[in-house]
Amino acid sequence: MDHAIWAEGLVKHFGETKALDGVDLAVRPGTVLGLLGPNGAGKTTAVRVLATLLRPDAGRASVNGYDVVNDAHQVRQLIGLTGQYASVDETLTGTENLLLIGRLLGIPKPQAKQRARELLAQFELTDAASRATKTYSGGMRRRLDLASSLVGRPTLLYLDEPTTGLDPRARAELWELIRRLVAGGTTVLLTTQYLDEADELADEIMVIDHGRVIASGTPDELKAKTGSQTLAVRPAEREHLPIVTSVVGELACATPDVKGRLVTAQVTDPKVLPAVVRKLDDAGVVVTELALRTSSLNEVFLTLTGHPAEETDENGTDGSDQTERSAA
């Protein structure tokens, strides 16, 4: 069995709702699969099936070759789960929560204490270690929850929307941690609604909607699927906006999108870039930004599901980090 996680034809119905409607997936050891989908797509259901918490109505799934239904106990020895909602015992302190898991996993008390200390330090919870977790903030709870799933050093980690509710710094740190775990050989199944997160972390992305896989591939493959690229031009002077809009519209053969001073349009031919530069130069327009970039996953998502992702544009569409080719 050369797949860490493998599933075929998973089906799970809740009454009329088809939460999973024939999902296949395969994750190679030491890689990250990003499960991407809008609310109610079936992400959590998929994770719960793979974590042995839910029996599929049809289909099969295995983890390191162990069947999630028949060899559930073996599967549980391999996985660490961080559910969508923080599942910490609110009456216990941070240390006690981790100690509880450690003891349940059969780790001797001194080692379990040591492990709890390590994890609390790693997640910057040392100061709050001996406080009842009901006094924790949402983000702290989330981090403790993550720490809990790492107590047993699982070879497979399921993270159901792990960064929801974390501030940008905590989010970046968590990404870093996930990268380190993966570098150490851990396989990760990650669900997220943040496209940039899947883009950052996942080796492979599966987009699901209404319980079905509607697209899968590497982040680049998915972006390539939508074919087009985005041309973005930002004039230095506001009065040049109409000229820029008309030039871009003419060359891209499409009505450009104007957001503030940024003019964007979908293009298929990369040759428009030099043409735009020439025309704007002739017109004496100075631009502060001029770029041709591959569509962001946001746009891919929109194309695939027919509805936008739940993300508020914080660093998606405007960021120059996704620029592939740019001219000045």
Binding site: P29, L53, D89, T155
Partner: protein, 281 residues
């Protein structure tokens, strides 16, 4: 044994199932959680010690004289029943704890761990027995301070306590069902009050059955709360009229009937609770 082939990152031998001994150990670890909770929040102990103390004082000093002629005699009659009644209320902590685990996702986390399937539930119930023992000692202690006197001997008292604990253990299954069905922990409390109050009050805990109208007596006589109270009275006071205006019968029949009731409750509620729990998760 430690030789590891390349493919899966690390492959220690995985055990196919949990041994019963490990299961017991895991249950005790989970029960430890409840003890720690109480240590952190002694007021939680207050929650369920305050009410019985208040009830004992209230019924003895306020109603005692009117019901039995003198409060000393009434205390003798009422205290064993009060211990029984309080025991039933304390079992609701199983429901509350379980419901909290279910609604807060802790139960899911536990189920994703390689531990015995029954450990989370067993841990809950086991932990409750500790609270149970404490609350029995508490009510009894208050009673003794106020002048309650054991009419039998230490043996009788111990049998009564064991009987109460056995009954509590069995009745915990009702509590498990409540915990599974309730939508949130607050509703568990509402249930505790709305269902347990009538059942415990319409019994012979506070007044003898003979003082009630005939149609009510029929219910009171079969009410396990009455039967268990009778058993405790007989075991603590003896088969005689001691300080109370009412006669206490022999211990045998009510003890046996209590155990039959306890068994019946388990037979009905254990499968029902497990079924409901499996449906819910």
């Amino acid at each position: 044994m430690t030789a590891i082939t390349a493919t899966p990152p690390s492959a220690p031998a995985l055990s196919p199932r949990v041994s019963p001994i490990d299961g017991v150990r895991q249950s005790l670890t989970l029960a430890w959680r409840t003890i720690v909770q109480v240590r952190h929040n002694p007021w939680e102990l207050g929650d369920f010690s305050f009410q019985p103390i208040m009830f004992v004082l209230l019924f003895t000093f306020v109603f005692g004289g009117a019901i039995a002629g003198d409060w000393q005699g009434y205390l003798q009659f009422m205290l064993p029943g009060m211990i029984t009644m309080n025991m039933l209320f304390v079992t609701m902590y199983v429901a509350q704890g379980l419901n909290t685990d279910l609604t807060k996702g802790v139960f899911d986390r536990l189920r994703s761990l390689p531990i015995a399937r029954w450990a989370p539930l067993a841990g809950r119930i086991a932990a409750d027995q500790v609270k149970q023992a404490w609350s029995i000692v508490l009510v009894l202690g208050i009673g003794l301070i106020m002048g309650f006197r054991i009419g039998t001997n230490v043996g009788g008292l111990l049998v009564a306590i064991v009987l109460l604990l056995v009954f509590a253990l069995c009745f915990s299954w009702v509590s498990v069902l409540v915990g599974v069905l309730a939508r949130d922990p607050e509703r568990v409390q509402i249930f505790g009050f709305t269902a347990l109050f009538p059942v415990t009050f319409v019994s012979n805990v506070f007044v003898p059955t003979e003082t009630m109208p005939g149609w009510l007596q029929a219910f009171v006589k079969v009410n396990p709360v009455s039967i268990l109270s009778d058993a405790c009275r007989a075991l603590m006071l003896g088969d005689k009229t001691v300080g109370t205006p009412w006669h206490v019968g022999s211990a045998g029949p009510p003890v046996v009937q209590s155990l039959i009731w306890a068994a019946a409750i388990v037979l009905v509620f254990a499968p029902l609770s497990v079924w409901a729990l499996k449906r819910k998760i």
